[in-house]
Amino acid sequence: MRRFEVLAILSVAALYACATTPKQTVELSATVGRDIEAVHVAHIALVKRYFARMDADVNGFVNETYRPYAIDRTMKAFHLVEKIVHPPEPLDAVDEMGLFVDTITRDIEGYRQELLQPIHAQRDKVLTSLEDAYRQIQDGNSIVTGHLASLVAVQDAQDAALSKAGLQGLREKLVDSTALASERLSQLTQKAEFARGKEDEIVKKIEEVKKAAAAFGK
C-alpha cells in the first residue's frame, strides 16, 4: 500500500512538475498591488490639485477682474447713484440698492459657474478615467496574485505529500525529469480515477510506472 501511495503521489507531482513558484512571487505581486495603490492615491491627489489650481485661477479672475468691471459698468449704465438719491416713485433708495446688489451678485456668481462648469466636467472625466484604469489594473493584479498563491498551494501540497512518503526534494528532481516519464505518470492518474473493475489493465500501467518511479529515485 505504501508503494502505491508513492506512485499516486508521484503522479500528482508529475502533473505540476514543470514549474516552481517561490512563495516570494505571491509577496512580490501583493507588494506591487500595494504600490500601485500608493501611486493611485498620489496620482489622484495630483490631478485634484491641478484642477483646484485651475479653479483658483477662474475664481481669481472673476473676483479681481470681472466683479469690479461688472459693478463699475452696471452702476454707471443703471445710474445707481442718481437713483439712490432720487428713486423712482414709489421706490426708495433701499429698494434700488437692494435690486442692484441682488442682480449684480447673481450675475457674478452665475458667470463664475459658467467658467467653472467645463473645468469641473474635465476634472470629473479625468478622475473617473483614472479611477477606472487603476481599479482595472488592481483587479487584474489581484487575480494574478491569487493565481500565484494557488500555484504555491499546489506546490505546498506536493511537498507535504512527498515529505510524508519520505521523498523530500523529489519535486525538484521531477522538474528536471524527462517529459516521457511525466506523461506516463499522468496517464496513470487518469486511468486510476476509473480503476474500479479494470485492475488488469491498470496492473500493466503500474509496472511501467514502477520503472519510471525507480528512475526518479536515482
Binding site: F4, L15, P90, L99, T103, Q122, V126, Q136, E199, I202
Partner: protein, 101 residues
Amino acid sequence: MDKKTREEVMKEQQAELDAIVKETRAAFAGAYADQLAQLQGLSDSELSALVPDVTAHAVYSQLMEVVKRASANNLGVAELKQRIQALGSSALAIAKRIGLA
C-alpha cells in the same frame, strides 16, 4: 393717469438691470477675450493626454475570467491528497494484485 404700483416699478427696474448685465457680459467677453481663452480649461489633446489609454475593460474581463478558472483548478489540485485517499479502495485492489500490499 394712474400711478404705477411698487411691483410694476420694481419689475421695470429689474428689466433695465438685466439688459445692462447682458450688455456688460458681452462687452467683457470682447475686452478680455485672451484671458478668457486661457481659462477655458484643457484642450482636447491635453485632456486626452491626462486620460490613461489602458486596455479595454472587456479584454481585462476575459483574461481575468480565464486566470480565475485556472486558479480554482490549481486550488482543487492542492486538495488532491484527499482525492488520492478517495482512490484508496481501487488502489488497494490493484496493489494486492501486483503484490505491492
